[in-house]
């Protein structure tokens, strides 16, 4: 029997559609319906994900999961107070634990405690930040998480990607909100004072696009512009060079599963869920770019087109003559030969939308809800020494 330990952290909305496939994945991680696998699953909910605890479309799913002995669901009490949901959640679903709000260890302390249990012996913990400050509250959660990482005696790592690189901007001065730039600087200072090394980086492509990394015509090299000092601008390749390490990478939506006994052994795999439609936002391009770069560096990587992400595979995409944009279908077509990279498309998401995967992508395999655990938890069918798997949503 294989034993695994899984943790999921969600702070963006959990829709009815997401709840349907996710509950199957979580049940499988907890050992339901699997013949040779058992495990513990911790789910941490903060931000907008908390609304799903009361939403009639998703509440039954959480109730069912909360009754499973192997599943523990923890809600962020401080955010529940802010949202006016503390009492309805605390008294409405018996299996949900509410932490923070003055009740013992903070929500973030609980999350860090959970990751230390999963990644036994880890010395680091990272946060992949893809959301910009002020428009999103995710950077606040990033600060809370990394502060708890430092409190736990671990080395904090921050990877700013896509709009997350706006955290770099010097001179932030929000009138009503927590200053994220100052928060990062304070965190870096606190980390150094506790004799630990902060490793804070921002993707150079994303920073260049947003004007934080500008060409010096005299040297021909880019230099930071209007940036705080505490985050280094680095190529994505250098950020991904950290990923073979045995430590967790949290994000706004994601998680990990760690088979027992795999401490430090092997390179953790990566599963990237593409959940947004292509082109109108950078999510699909950003997720694909990160996944392809990871796979090219030898990290076993799955890309799963799911929910609105399946529109990337519908019909044939053509970039109009003068547009400067990557055709995501061409990106997929020329990367199916990368050995460490597997593409999948979620059949129920196609069916719900009444669309079909174009016939040009036979190497993008269709997967059902039942297939997802096989992809995400390979230890179930593989050797007991299988490696950990990180999951990131784009």
């Amino acid at each position: 029997m294989h034993v695994s330990s899984s943790t999921f952290f969600f702070c963006e909305p959990v829709t009815g559609e997401r709840m349907r496939w996710l509950s199957g994945v979580i049940s499988a991680a907890g050992g339901e319906g699997a013949s040779n696998e058992t495990g513990s699953v911790k789910i941490f909910l903060s931000g907008d994900a908390l609304f799903s605890l009361l939403d009639a479309r998703t509440r039954p799913g959480w109730v069912t999961l909360s009754r499973m002995p192997s599943v523990r669901i923890t809600a962020d009490g401080d955010v529940l107070l802010l949202q006016g949901l503390f009492d309805p959640v605390a008294s409405g679903i018996p299996g949900i634990r509410v932490t923070g709000a003055g009740n013992g260890r903070s929500f973030w302390g609980e999350l860090v405690f959970a990751l230390e249990m999963d990644w036994k012996g880890t010395k680091n913990a990272a946060f992949l930040l893809c959301n910009s400050p002020y428009m999103s509250r995710v950077p606040v959660y990033m600060l809370r998480f990394l502060a708890s990482v430092v409190e736990a005696g671990l080395h904090p790592e921050l990877y700013c990607y896509l709009d997350g690189v706006h955290v770099l901007h010097d001179g932030q001065r929000p009138s009503e909100f927590e200053n994220i730039g100052k928060g990062v600087s304070a965190l870096a200072g606190e980390t150094v004072r506790s004799c630990r090394d902060p490793w804070f980086a921002a993707c150079s492509r994303c920073a260049t696009a947003r004007g934080y990394y500008q060409m010096n015509p005299g040297t021909g090299f880019c230099e930071p512009a209007s940036c705080i000092q505490d985050i280094a601008i680095r190529p994505l390749k250098e950020i991904l060079a950290r990923f073979p390490g045995f430590y967790p990478v949290a994000s706004h939506m994601g998680g990990w599963t760690v088979p027992a006994g795999c401490e430090g052994g092997g390179v953790p795999g990566l599963s990237v869920f593409i959940t947004h439609p292509p082109y109108c936002s950078e999510w699909t391009f950003g997720g694909l770019s990160l996944a392809i770069a990871a796979a090219m560096d030898g990290i076993p990587t799955n890309v799963i087109f799911i929910e609105d992400g399946v529109y990337a595979l519908q019909e044939i995409h053509e970039v109009p003559g003068n547009e400067r944009i990557f055709n995501v279908q061409e990106m997929i077509a020329v990367t199916t030969d990368i050995e460490s990279l597997s593409y999948h498309v979620h059949s129920p998401s196609l069916e719900d939308r009444g669309i079909h995967r174009t016939g040009d992508f036979p190497l993008v395999g269709k997967v059902s809800d039942g297939d997802l655990p096989r992809i995400l938890f390979p230890s179930k069918d593989g050797p007991a020494s299988a490696t950990a798997m990180r999951m990131l949503f784009f």
Binding site: R205, F326, T335
Partner: protein, 73 residues
Amino acid sequence: METTNAKDFTELTCTNLMIKLKILLNKLPPGDAVAFYATREQVDNTCSPFSGQGYQVSWTATAENRYLVRIGK
């Protein structure tokens, strides 16, 4: 000296440049070549490896850390 029909790929990551070049080279008629500007790092990490895949790769420096690269079938 700048070549007007050569695209500027200097801001692409090495991975995205590789993808871009594979897409362009797939569409390239035999005997033809693509020309573009790249940085030294891109030339070393992404452009040069195409020579091992049956392509002719050449480059010339046009400014500090700026190279005009040609890859042909």
